[in-house]
Point group: C2
Chain length 241, copies 2
C-alpha cells in the first residue's frame, strides 16, 4: 500500500510554528491579516474580483484556509460574495460612505465621551503624548508612520472608553473607509486640518468635558466625511477623462 510518495502531502510542514507564540499561530489568522492588509493598503482595488487560486498562491495558503479567511472578511463587509461568481472587494458609493460616517460618528463620539468619563489619568497622559507624536509627524512630513501613530491614538481612546463591544464595532466600521482615509492624508492641507481637529478633541478629553468632547468629535468626523466624499467626486471626474 501506500507509501504514497506523490507530490502532495509533503507540504512545508510547520510554517506555523515558526510564527512564534504571542500572535495567533494558525494559518487562517495569518491569511486573514494578510488579505485584510492588502485590501486596506489598496493592493486590491475596489470592485476587483478576487480569484481564490490566485489568492492561494499569493498567501501560500490552501483553499480551505483561504476560504475561511474570506468568510471573515465578508462578514466584516470588506468583500462581497456572489454564488459561483466569487468575491469582489466591496465598492463604496457616496451613499454608503455617508451611512458609514453616520454610524461611525455615533460610535466614535460615544467612545470619546465615555473616555472623558472613565479613562485613568495615565490614559489621559498617554493620549496627550500620542498627540504630540502625531504633531511631530505632521510637522516633519513623516507620512509613512502617521497611520500607526493615529492607530495608537485611537487604541488608547478605545481602551479608555471601557467598552469592548463598542471597540469591536468601531474597529470594524473604521476598516471600511480606512484605505480612503490613508490616501487623503497625502494632502498637506488636510493633514493640518485633521491635526487641528484632533488637538481640539484631545483638549476636551483632557478636561473631561463631555460637551466639548462631543462637539469636537462630531466636527472632526464631519470634516473627514466631507473630505472623503470630495475625493470620491474627484475620482469620478478622473474616470471621465
Amino acid at each position: 500500500m501506500a507509501v504514497t510518495l506523490q507530490t502532495g502531502p509533503v507540504r512545508k510542514a510547520l510554517p506555523v510554528k515558526a510564527a512564534g507564540r504571542g500572535v495567533e499561530t494558525t494559518l487562517r489568522s495569518h491569511t486573514q491579516v494578510a488579505l485584510r492588509s492588502a485590501i486596506l493598503n489598496g493592493q486590491f482595488v475596489a470592485g476587483q474580483k478576487l480569484v481564490e487560486r490566485e489568492l492561494c498562491e499569493l498567501t501560500g495558503a490552501s483553499r480551505s484556509v483561504l476560504r475561511e479567511a474570506l468568510v471573515n472578511l465578508e462578514v466584516n463587509g470588506l468583500i462581497e460574495r456572489q454564488s459561483y461568481c466569487g468575491y469582489r472587494v466591496t465598492e463604496l458609493d457616496a451613499r454608503t460612505v455617508c451611512e458609514i460616517f453616520e454610524l461611525r460618528s455615533s460610535l466614535e463620539t460615544q467612545a470619546a465621551v465615555l473616555f472623558a468619563e472613565r479613562a485613568s489619568e495615565a490614559e489621559l497622559e498617554a493620549l496627550n503624548r500620542q498627540l504630540e507624536k502625531l504633531e511631530d509627524c505632521v510637522e516633519n512630513f513623516d507620512i509613512e508612520i502617521m497611520r500607526p501613530v493615529k492607530e495608537g491614538y485611537y487604541d488608547i481612546l478605545f481602551t479608555g472608553c471601557r467598552n469592548r463591544e463598542l471597540r469591536r464595532a468601531l474597529e470594524n466600521i473604521i476598516d471600511r473607509v480606512c484605505h480612503l482615509r490613508s490616501r487623503l492624508m497625502r494632502d498637506p492641507e488636510l493633514r493640518v486640518t485633521s491635526l487641528h481637529e484632533m488637538q481640539k478633541l484631545t483638549a476636551a478629553l483632557l478636561k473631561r468635558d463631555p460637551i466639548a468632547t462631543r462637539a469636537a468629535s462630531l466636527a472632526h468626523l464631519d470634516s473627514a466625511k466631507e473630505a472623503v466624499l470630495a475625493s470620491m467626486a474627484d475620482e469620478v471626474f478622473k474616470d471621465d477623462l
Copy 2:
C-alpha cells in the same frame, strides 16, 4: 441512532436548489442560519463545547461547509474559538451584558431618532400596525409569536432609519443578547412593562419628536438591561443551590 441515513459519498444531490431563489441557496448560508437559530433559541447553552462532527450530523453539512459557517458566527461574537480546542458558545458575564447594552442603546436610539426624521408616512403607519399586533400578543398571551412580531417591529424601524450600516451593527449586537431577552418575555409583568415602553416609543416616533424618541428609546433599553442583569443574578443564585 442516526435517523439520517446520508452516511456515504452519496450526496443528497441538490437540496440547495429546492430551497428556492429568493433566499440564499448555498449550503453554507443554510447551515449558518440553522446554527444561529440553535444558539439563539438556547438549544446550545452558553459555554457549551461545539464539536464539529456532531454539528455536521445535526445539520447534514460537511465539515468544510460547517467550518465556514462557524467562522461567520465567530466573527459575530456568538461563539469563540481556541486553537485545537474547538468552539464554545460565548458566555456572557454581567460586565459584557452592560457593555452590549451600552452599545445597543447608542445604536438603537440613533436608529429611532433617524426613523423619526426620515421614515415615510407609510412606514409610520406600518410601525403603528405592528405595535397593535404586539398589543394583541401580550393581551392574548401569544408568547410564541411575540418574537417574530417584535422582530417585525424592529425591521420596520431599522429600514426606516435609512442606514444599512447602522442596521447591520444593530442586528449583530442584538443577536448577542437575543436568547436572554426571549426567556425574559415569559414573565407576564415584564411583557406588560416592555409593551408600555414600546407604546411610548411608538407615540414619539409617530409625532416625529426626536427628544421624546430619544428618551423613550433610552428608557426602554435601560429597563431591558436591568431585567437581563436581574435574571442573570437569579441564574447565579440557582447555581448555588
